[in-house]
């Protein structure tokens, strides 16, 4: 069983307990305009160009047999022509060109994740993220199953837009589900993200009914999700589904803008991370809605 991944982060300290290693799987069915990992959206690998590491030497243009590269002020990649042969990556004396996304077997992925097992301690472990981890659910389940065999704590970050059998496959091998609910209103959800959220909420309720350890998370995006009404609605809903629910608000992180520059795309979100005071305001809403376990960093 193989999967397509685009990153593996060690010493991940924000998603799940303890110290973790996080594997990023490629491909996502959602199209959130604020996506923090745009390089993971597409299901296929892609050539990634980072202008900051480019020396402008033109070696890559010369070596490309498909005429997919051209050099102006920066290198421009014609993705439709690129066959991902890797010649340009190899010849680049800097590290400006990189094929983003590679195929690995579940066994390789598990080995790389477990390389840091000495750091996992009592509550650390491995996390699958993305993209959307469940878009390659069979691969994801096998990776976590291999990790579980070694007694490692496992977690998955998911939007839950996936068939029920995918969720069922993950249940026995996943210790913690970190699930994203961005909007409660299905119409807004569809309007902003491109798909409605009924399957997401169904899967969420299923997980709760199965007694899974679930942490609901909402990214606070200025101009999008970060409104009192939206947060209150989500809080109220999840409180009804699960009286003991855990809820985490993820503060906006503007650092991903540089990734959009590299992709020659504009980042649609204006604004900055919320201040401590602003965050307290959101936490107050959760308290008012009776959320018992507010997860904070």
């Amino acid at each position: 069983m193989t999967g397509i991944i685009f990153d593996l982060k060690r010493f991940a300290v924000h998603d799940g307990g303890g110290l973790r290693s996080t594997l990023f799987l490629k491909g996502c069915p959602l199209h959130c305009p604020w996506c923090q990992n745009p390089e993971g959206m597409d299901h296929k690998p892609a050539l990634w160009y980072n202008p900051n590491d480019c020396l402008g030497c033109g070696s890559c243009v010369a070596v490309c047999t498909e005429q997919a590269l051209s050099l102006g002020e920066r290198v421009h990649v014609e993705h439709s022509k690129c066959t991902l042969c890797g010649k340009c990556e190899d010849v680049c004396p800097g590290s400006a060109l990189e094929r983003m996304g590679g195929t690995v077997t579940a066994k390789e992925a598990a080995e790389r994740l477990l390389r840091d097992s000495v750091f996992f301690g009592a509550d650390g472990g491995v996390t699958l993220s993305g993209g959307e981890a469940l878009s390659q659910w069979e691969f994801a389940a096998e990776v976590l199953s291999l990790c579980k065999e070694k007694g490692t704590d496992t977690a998955i970050e998911t939007c839950l837009l996936a068939p029920r059998k995918a969720v069922e496959a993950m249940l026995p091998v996943t210790d913690h589900f970190l699930i994203d609910i961005k909007y409660l209103d299905p119409i807004i959800h569809e309007k902003v993200i491109g798909v409605d959220n009924r399957q997401i909420l169904d899967n969420y309720e299923f997980l709760v009914s199965q007694g899974a350890d679930v942490i609901v998370r909402t990214p606070l995006i200025p101009g999008y999700t970060a409104t009192e009404e939206n947060i209150r609605n989500i809080a109220r809903y999840i409180r009804t589904v699960d009286a003991d629910t855990k809820y985490e608000l993820l503060n906006f992180n503007p650092l991903c803008r540089s990734k959009y520059t590299a992709l020659e795309r504009d980042y649609p979100v204006e604004g900055r991370a919320f201040s401590e005071e602003e965050m307290s305001g959101f936490y107050k809403i959760l308290q008012e809605e009776g959320i018992l376990h507010i997860i904070k960093e």
């Binding site: 982060k9 060690r10 010493f11 991940a12 300290v13 924000h14 303890g18 110290l19 290693s21 590491d53 020396l55 030497c57 680049c92 004396p93 800097g94 590290s95 390389r115 840091d116 000495v118 750091f119 301690g121 650390g124 904070k296 960093e297």
Partner: protein, 784 residues
């Protein structure tokens, strides 16, 4: 234990005032002791050197000007001003003569000077010591040999005493100067003539020590009569008692400890004497006083008085030495926590009180070290992590799981290994029974590689200083290159050991240290000074520098030149010789297309380990001047900057004269892109069992990591993993660039901002601009 109560104790107001006064006082170079000592030597001409030394010390203890601050509770200094730079002509006068005027303006470790002192030094002191000081004698005996290898091997201890010693403070507390004097007297009867001189020198030193304490008692009593301040009366009583009998209370034990270190410095003027496991040997006194009603507040105030004192002695180095060891480190290294001999946990109330004192003061001294092991109690790790998060670089962390077996494998008993302490910055030692000569020399492996690639010719100045074994173009295989590198290392190792032995002999001849010898086990029993080999353990330590640059350079050559043939041997050699002048693409490839140490890439890390192993194994065949073995260390303190200035462009993409990797086992800055766990995994592949002289890994974190309880918890998890990985030592710098930029602009507002330089903490604003820049440039781990 009263962990909770201790963590709530506030900084005493007295301490805040004393700290402010101390930091406001300007630093001056001082020649007072030099004058007294020179006069004494003139009077004792012809007597055995140990007697001359003891009489000179005694004269200084009896005559040097003393001062007590009206609010002090712990007293004693070796100059009447605080942080005075003591001119010490017995070890070095010529360099002072050359550099005296430049002390206020030199780039690193500035001191103010008084013109009348300069005049008096040249008139009364310099003429006597010309040709007689350690510095001049070493230069005459071995100067040209030292110079010939200087770019590869820096020989140390040429113009100052060795230091890096952890004395037996427990014995000093138990016996006091009177008890030790009696011990020496008891030995006199059966002693031979040479031993008799030694015992007499100990007796003279102890008489001086008692007199010194009594002078403080008299001064405090007089000041009490004038001011009626109760603390002064208390000081008078304590000092008077200690002059004649051993300590019993916590206050007395803390004061006695401080007197010991002041007198050791007056005798030795060494780069460090370290108190070691103070939470262990002070504990019985603490417990005794607690039973008699001493409050926790009082215990903390006394502790913090001592903490301030640790900052009042600094060390005057020559300008070159100050580059290598910047920020006047004097290394009062205090170790807390760890285990007892039987493996049970050793932490106690004092461990926590010391951490609390550190969190209040955040000063460069003491150099606070935490010993951890697999069973370290979580509250101790959490308390320590909170203090680390405050950003003073302390406590630095030592790992029993790595250190104890390393010491045992170098001939140290299990009992002594379990009781190890740290001296100076990061050097490992047993407690109270070793002269480990930890800083005998620093060996620049990267420079040896440069010479190997270039016919033994220095790429910076064109001089032939190494063996001509060929150059990069003549080594047909990578193995050929490695074989030549090994020969080059052997060549310089031999030369190094010759020089070190000569320097040691000179110390034995010129600088016996009877006072120190009285608190190092076996010296009194053997009737032998430490410099003669009187200590129970006699080591010499050499630092191998710098594993990251060697691993990265060899990995790049192996991969890009020999294996993949992306760069020709001729092109690379030319690029190195010309400092990459017309070869930016070659340099970019070296940087980007070859994996680097610090990213958990096995074959690269193993290259580093291989050469460190080779160097350590090579040391096994040598013996030092006192009959002991050589040990390898892996640390540079701040020497990675000046040592980098000696090295031409290297195949890791480093430009000529740029700094080497910092610390000792750290990755080259900015090249450990896989985060801290990958770095730690790389580091863990090095042979820590062989690095029993000490190692240094620097890691930088941003303060945000420590802001939450979750962050503190995750940091303790990281510490636990370090235990399991068997890495012997880590220092954590918690800082952000904004603070540091602001401090450069307005040093006066950031006087007490401390940063980890490498093996110790210094005031950031007192570092030279290039070191400041270097600290700012180092990678910082943001939370991912």
């Amino acid at each position: 234990m009263q962990i909770e109560q201790i963590s709530k104790l506030a900084c005493p107001e007295r301490i805040a005032r004393l700290k402010e006064e101390m930091l406001e006082e300007p630093r001056f170079a001082s020649i007072e002791q030099a004058c007294i000592v020179t006069d004494s030597y003139k009077e004792t001409e012809g007597e055995p050197r140990c007697i001359q030394r003891a009489k000179a010390l005694k004269a200084a203890l009896e005559k040097i000007a003393i001062r007590i601050e009206p609010e002090e509770r712990i007293v004693g200094n070796r100059t009447s001003g605080v942080r005075g730079g003591v001119v010490f002509p017995e070890t070095g006068a010529s360099w002072v003569d050359r550099e005296f005027e430049t002390l206020p303006t030199r780039p690193q470790d500035k001191f103010q000077v008084r013109q009348e002192d300069i005049d008096a030094f040249r008139r009364d002191i310099m003429p006597y010591w010309r040709g007689r000081s350690l510095e001049d004698q070493v230069r005459m005996a071995v100067g040209s040999q030292v110079d010939a290898i200087a770019k590869v091997v820096k020989i140390n201890q040429k113009d100052h005493s060795q230091g890096h010693i952890c004395p037996n403070t427990k014995k000093w507390l138990k016996l006091g100067p009177v008890g030790i004097r009696r011990e020496a007297e008891a030995h006199l009867d059966q002693a031979d003539e040479r031993q008799k001189d030694f015992y007499r020198s100990v007796i003279l030193s102890m008489e001086g020590a008692s007199a010194f304490m009594e002078r403080y008692a008299v001064l405090a009593e007089k000041m009490y009569q004038e001011t009626k301040k109760e603390n002064l009366l208390e000081v008078a009583k304590v000092c008077h008692k200690l002059a004649v009998s051993p300590a019993e209370t916590y206050h007395e034990a803390v004061q006695a400890t401080w007197f010991l270190y002041v007198i050791l410095q007056m005798e030795g003027n060494a780069s460090s004497f370290s108190p070691g496991r103070m939470d262990q040997y002070l504990y019985p006194y603490y417990e005794n006083s607690r039973k008699q009603g001493m409050t926790l507040e009082d215990a903390l105030e006394l502790t913090e008085c001592l903490w301030l004192k640790f900052n009042q002695l600094v060390y005057l180095r020559n300008s070159n030495s100050a580059k290598y060891f910047a920020g006047f480190p004097i290394g009062f290294n205090v170790a807390i926590g760890g285990q007892n001999e039987d493996g049970s946990d050793a932490s106690n109330d004092l461990s926590y009180l010391f951490l609390q004192a550190q969190s209040h003061l955040l000063l460069p001294q003491p150099n606070l070290s935490l010993r951890i092991y697999k069973g370290s109690p979580r509250p101790l790790l959490e308390a320590a992590s909170r203090v680390i998060g405050l950003g003073s670089g302390m406590p630095q962390v030592f790992n029993d799981e790595a250190v104890v077996p390393a010491l045992e494998s170098h001939g140290i008993s299990h009992e002594d290994a379990m009781n190890y302490a740290i001296v100076g910055c990061v050097e490992l030692t047993t407690h109270g029974n070793a002269l480990a000569w930890s800083d005998a020399a620093m060996f620049n492996l990267l420079k040896a590689l440069e010479l190997t690639l270039n016919h033994g010719v220095d790429m910076l100045n064109g001089e032939k200083t190494g063996l001509d074994l060929g150059d990069l173009t003549t080594y047909e295989t990578f193995e050929d290159l490695e074989a030549a590198f090994a020969k080059q290392i052997d060549y310089f190792s031999d030369k190094m050991v010759e020089c070190v032995s000569q320097v040691e002999k000179m110390h034995e001849k010129l600088l016996p240290t009877p006072f120190l010898s009285s608190v190092i086990d076996d010296c009194l029993a053997k009737g032998q000074d430490v410099t003669q080999g009187g200590a129970h353990y006699n080591f010499a330590g050499v630092q191998a520098i710098q594993v990251a640059n060697v691993a990265d350079s060899l990995a790049a050559i192996k991969s890009l030149v020999y294996d993949k043939k992306k760069i020709s041997r001729e092109d690379l050699l030319r690029a190195l010789q010309t400092n990459y002048e017309n070869a930016p693409l070659i340099r970019a490839m070296l940087l980007n297309k070859a994996p680097k140490y610090g990213n958990d890439v096995d074959w690269v890390d193993q290259l580093g380990a291989k050469w460190v192993n080779y160097f350590a194994d090579g040391l096994k065949k040598y013996r030092n001047g006192r009959g002991g073995i050589y040990q390898m260390g892996l640390y540079t303190v701040s020497a990675h900057v000046p040592m980098g200035q000696n090295v031409g462009a290297s195949a890791d993409g480093r430009y000529a004269k740029d700094p080497l990797a910092d610390g000792g086992v750290s990755a080259m800055y900015g090249r450990d892109g896989q985060g801290p766990t990958a770095l730690l995994q790389s580091v863990a592949k090095l042979p820590f069992m062989k690095a029993s002289n000490g190692t240094l890994l620097n890691m930088k974190f941003l303060p945000q990591f420590f802001k939450t309880e979750t962050g503190i918890y995750k940091f303790t998890e990281l510490l636990r993993a370090v235990c399991n990985l068997g890495i012997s030592h880590i220092q954590f710098n918690v800082l952000n660039e904004k603070d540091l930029r602001a401090a450069q602009k307005k040093p006066e507002e950031y006087r007490s901002l401390t940063v980890r330089v490498a093996g110790y903490t210094a005031y950031f604003t007192e570092l030279a601009p290039d070191l400041q820049e270097e600290i700012i440039a180092r990678t910082t781990y943001e939370a991912i």
